[in-house]
Symmetry: C2
Subunit: 331 residues, 2 copies
């Protein structure tokens, strides 16, 4: 077992000590929960720790809790749950995407085969519900299960629209709201709720999370086109390769000069190895990247506005900074 | 939506009317729970109903409940949950096995691709926890999550031992206890518990389920070798093709005449299309099939013994008949 410490990554926040102890407790609980009497299972789950990234979702659980009141032991459980659900979706996403690289390392499917990746994802999701069930208040289990239903629906809707060159912005927003933003929103909601927020306050933080989550995914989708693989640390260009249309591409196909639209369409239908690279080069300098960025920034504005009425606190300031970071990050 | 009726299949029991209404309620709840506002999701989940088979697990929930006392609304929920978890494992199993046929129809992975099958399995598992979370008593959610942890461990242990020609009987029993028997055992346990069984009585029915579940999987593994594809209604020979050693093969590799062992070993290592068929023909007439059958029958004996002390009732008689059916069935 690796030492159970957690060094916060490159957030634009100088001191994370407000919730550093809680984040370390999440890492500990995570590993505790996944422990098995079967050595081969432990060997496989060891890979997962390497994927631990920004811990965005646990951070939001704690900051939203702090913005409302005191953190409780249930906050640690919920933060571990949302991180574990997130890891499960990453592992299954990589199977769906046939991705080879994640967080600067090989993906599970690349290392151990698709079958192990499917089962490892199932193992993670099962343990996350197992953690939920350890709480006496059923509100957490209900909210998490409702959210994972939505995550799956988002993934299925995305899959259904693979290769659909007519995908519109609204459907795209539905996809990413469910597959990504719903888990971020419930992190905020439960963080607030468990700290004693009334329903209106918890809903406000849920809305903050939803806007932030949508913006987060838009930025992710932008980076899939504009990012540098070495810097981002995962396989890029996958959306295009898998013909998942994202906001910049959707906008490009509707607003670029006609001959560019035409070229992009034919490349999206082409089965040639350099097609994805050519599409990226076509879209990168276009106004469609700026458009997507702008939409993400407006969502961040809405997120910040949603929490403006919270009483002043360090946690509130961090929530504002996190919203800004989401659209400025390059990794 | 198809009509919400359920005709019990070829059980050796003439009248299933003792629990027919409850089984019909499971079908209804199942479809209700999976409904989505997204047409593409409903289109996909429609496929699942076609896979509905013997409803072994819901039947056990109800019979164990009846053997103890009265059925409650929670019994319907639990029965729906265990059937849904079972369906999820079938869908992901077919991805792992690259199986083409299930319950006389094409598998989801064959029809819609591996990606849709992975996500559909996730959707089913998420909805089964969502159903658990609808109950106020956390005992169900805890038992189910603990069970799905075990199911995943069993699958991972099996995956880890693919191609391991030294796999021993004990490890094989561990694999099938977790991946198959644990869900059958928890069906019995919860059925009894929700009908008001004390802990000792619920544990006895859990043990009955565990023995029956192990026997069930041994019989399944025998049929993978001896069955007729047309009759069984799913792709056979897959265990051998995927180099998953099952009880007959494990026994054969230790007890067959030396030259047969040798041939079997070399065929298991061979990458030729007819290898699985040749192994099946080699093992079919051997004492190893009889050995596996015998082991399954002894487990059934133990299962029946475990419920001998229950007061006489129609439900008890059905539980005995089900245990016998498990090892006599040819589909």
């Amino acid at each position: 077992m690796p030492a159970k410490t957690y060094s916060p990554p490159a957030y634009p926040i100088e001191r994370m000590d407000l919730i550093a102890a809680e984040l370390a407790a999440v890492v500990e609980r995570f590993e505790e929960e996944l422990g098995s009497d079967l050595p081969c299972v432990n060997e496989l789950t060891r890979h997962v720790s390497r994927f631990r990234g920004k811990m965005l979702r646990p951070t939001l659980v704690f900051l939203c809790g702090r913005a409302i009141g005191e953190l409780t032991p249930a906050h640690i459980t919920v933060a571990t749950v949302v991180e574990m659900v997130h890891m499960a979706t990453l592992v299954h996403d990589d199977v769906l995407d046939e991705a080879a690289m994640r967080r600067r390392g090989a993906t599970i499917n690349r290392l151990r085969g698709n079958e192990a990746a499917v089962m490892l994802g199932d193992y993670l999701i099962s343990h996350s519900y197992h953690l939920c069930a350890s709480l006496t208040d059923p509100v957490v289990a209900r909210a998490i299960a409702r959210t994972t239903n939505q995550v799956c629906e988002g993934e299925l809707l995305q899959l259904h629209n693979r290769g659909n060159l007519e995908l519109d912005e609204e459907t795209y927003i539905t996809i990413i709201s469910r597959k990504t933003a719903s888990l971020i929103a419930v992190s905020c909601y439960l963080g607030a709720k468990l700290a004693g927020a009334d329903d209106a306050a918890a809903k406000r933080l849920e809305k903050y999370g939803l806007s932030l989550g949508i913006a987060f995914q838009i930025q992710d989708d932008i980076l899939d086109i504009t990012g540098e693989e070495r810097k981002v640390g995962k396989t890029l260009g996958i959306d295009i390769e898998k013909r998942k249309l994202t906001l910049p591409v959707i906008h490009f196909l509707q607003h670029a000069p006609a001959e560019h639209q035409e070229l992009c369409r034919s490349l999206l239908g082409a089965d040639e190895p350099r097609a994805a690279e050519r599409i990226r080069k076509l879209i990168m300098p276009s106004g469609s990247i700026a458009y997507a960025h702008d939409r993400a920034r407006r969502l961040v504005g809405r997120a910040k506005q949603g929490i403006a009425e919270l009483p002043e606190s360090e946690a509130k300031q961090r929530l504002i900074a996190m919203a800004e970071f989401v659209v400025e990050r390059s990794l």
